[in-house]
Amino acid sequence: MLIPSSWLKEYVDIKLPFPELALKLSEAGLTVEKWEEKDGDIIFDPEVTPNRPDWLSLCGIAREVAALTNTHLKDPNEIALNTKYKTPKTNYEITLKPNYAAIPRMTSVIVQNVKVKPSPDWLQKRIKQIGLRPINNLVDITNFVLWTFGSPLHVFDYDKIRGHQIIVDLAKGGEPFRSLDGLNYTLPKNAIIIKDVGRIIDLPPLKGGENSAISPETKNVLLHSIVCDPVLTRRTSQSLGLRSDSSAISERGVDPNGTVPAVKLALKMILDLAGGEVASELLDHKDHNFKPWTVEMGHNKLESVLGLKFEPKKVVQALVSLQLKPNMTNLTNKSNLIYAVEIPTFRPDLKIEEDLIEEVGRLYGYNHFPKTLPASPVPTAKVAYAKNYDFEYEVKQILQSAGYSEIYTYSLVSETQLIKLGINPGKTLRVDNPISRDYEYLRPALVGNLLDAYKLNQANFPQIKLFELGKEYKGESLDKAKEEYWVWGIESGENFHQAKGFFELLLNNININYHLRPIEPSDHFNWCHPGRTALVFTGDKKYLGFIGEAHPSLLAKWAIKNRAVIWELDYGLLEKLATSEKKYHPIPKYPPVIEDLSLIIPDDILYSDVVSAIKRTSLLVNSIDLLDTHEDSRTLRLTYLDESRNLSDKDAAEIRLKILKTLKEKLGVKAK
């Protein structure tokens, strides 16, 4: 909404120069960031918060400027109300059937023998300044008055109103409507409509109807100003995707006492600029008398909420400057002092004590407030839905030290990605109103985005290591929706064991017991190489993740040329099982015996089988490490240790013999 400051000056004295005034208004909540100097006038574009209908008008902004800068306000309401209203000589026939649920107040008047013509230059200039196109004197007047008071107005061609009936109603839904700018709409249920006999002639406050619009030939007009129900207006506006200056004000709540001054000012202007005579009484239909209401504010509460001491006199001054009417119960005793504040109907946002506290606070200016920190002790009870970000950071740091770089990707993914991954989109959570097909489904796995990221980087980097720790959205339908944290990694090359080394490092670091086995066809893992993948389980056999080369067919779908290792870990499970406790073991009192065994292991025997066989052989085997792999043989370094005595060469030889015997008999493993 554009505001020319020369126009604003007609209602309030402006003493502050512009950048300062803009800052002052912004500080008080009426954000003015954009303005433009044009022909010696400054035109600004305030951003109005949704609680303030009054700021969508010159009057409302003038009131704010007067309160903030302590300057004189010329109340345009008074100007309009003092307009002499001549008793009509003739009374045109009209039947008005209100519906107060839809339009709680409607003030109408008929004018005869008007001349529709272009507005005079001064009015055209104003209309252009506020970013509208001058149409003709009547339409321009309604816009001028709308800008002045924030009260929506409309002029009908009286002679086109069939049966001279104005019937306020709600649409049943599905009715066609053609607007005065020649567009066709199908009305949603409960849209506010105005009908004459048998036709819809207006869709207030959004669009006038073509069938009742004024034209150059129009002679007699019905002018009205209406208050539309905010909720019905908003629903219709959203349903039709239609917004107007009038609807923006109506959604916020039009001043129900604004219709009479608005009609009076518009009437005066019509008589001045279009000629004619009044041809009806001022027909004011209202649900009830809209009276100011009272909100009480305790002085104690004011000081407690804001954390500042106030002089009651200053509080009263602030409230009065905003055209509010405070009455005090007891001025002498501050602690029991209550301000009973009468709120005018143009401030529907002031409903409770806190609303008034805000008025005092924002006029005082938050930039003048002292700054403190809460004085109460820090609460120690554990908060609900606690989340351990320390652990997350620890895991991320381990990943970082292992050379992985972190990515953050969108949770919303495309159907194409799901299909490439072999995931059924029909069983994936989805939003009804995606911004595009690219971002429609909630990712059930992080792998797709990771492959995208890998592909993006493959041209620039020979070595890529990426990870993402984020949510996966599981469940075939909303009833079964579950958000789970997973961490996924990808690294270039076919070095499975390097990636596995990272797994071992991580899981050892956070003290998680795990075991690992090769993938089997019955595991149905389509994303991984069937011969180069391992599944990882917790000590009590819960699935913890996998690690494996990406399946060649998966890489092909992403046009990734080289091999890559991918892995996933159930982060939620990690967080649950991880401990940071370290248990101290004293350095052994007796020296260990270390010896290396070179073994020839048959193809079908796993290294892990060899290790567990060795461990089962003797309790004195303290550790087994793989030292070297050479063609068909592997060299293992064994450490024997007895906590209670020195082991002799003879002891070691005995263990070794036993081990070799077991390996040969059970696994067919021979010493080299």
Partner: protein, 348 residues
Amino acid sequence: MQDKLLDVKNEAIAQILATTDPKQLEEIRVEYLGKSKGRLTLLMKRLPELPPNERGIVGRFANEVKSSIEETLASQEVLLQKARIQDISKTERIDVTLPGIRPNLGHLHPIAQVLHKVLDIFKRLGYQVSETEEIQTDYYNFTSLNMPADAPSRDTQATFYLDTRHSKAQPGEWILQTQVTSMQVKILEKTKPPVRVVMPGKVYRVDNVDPSHGFEFWQIDGFIVDKNIHMTDLLGTIEYVLRGLYGSEIKIRFDATNFGFVEPGVQAFMSCTICKQKGCPFCKHTGWVEILPAGMIHPNVLKNAGLDPNVWGGFAFDLGLSRAAVLKNQIDDLRVLTNPDLRILKQF
């Protein structure tokens, strides 16, 4: 015998003094003083063959020979060592300007880095951390926060609705959270005040993607519910957090504003860290960036959480994490944060 000893001595010393290589010194030591075959050792082994009256004199002389060889060896070794150290600037020179061989360290995402920093600051102020689901009901995301259906205050948060097929849910009932404040009433329903908590999370809004907008971004919201909490506490907390994050030299400004779930409401602005208030597209040439909307918790929100607003009060605030990361690293485009290009990631 004495002549032989003298010859050995002279030869040894001459050889030692002629040596330039420390390894040769060791060879000389073995040649003369070696335990089994050293030339001096062999001579000394023959001492018992001498007549008793000569043994003492020759023996003493032999010992003198031995120690003078040893001393010469030692002094020559020191000399050679010195010479070598003097020379290493030339003989062992390397090109220190060649690039270093770096350990292969990865990079954490700028949002993760800023989140870690922010949480650290809030921890110092006694805040705990919570998180709930992103798939949220309209009630917790809006209605419980004093943003009822049909309230214009919802306009700034255009909402993604979940597809309800194959489910008992009503269309429109489940949404993707548009603000992490959606956790506020949920947390208060299950936590007895006093409470101080921050809630990081991802939020979703139907919006076009451009340098300063996106449909998915990160926030960290937080609130206090306690007795005797003042607006001045809120302003002080905001200042503490922003200064902790961006340094004490930044300027902070507060504007009044309106959000459904607070009353009174404020918007904190910070001097633009990208252009240092010279004016840039990111701050819309105002020198200020909106960074942290906040306010005193609206009594209706407390009531919705089952708390008596006459007893309890508090404040709530919302820090845009994506925005914070952008400002922290002078990134001029929000889209950089979701771009997984390593040429970008490696800068952080």
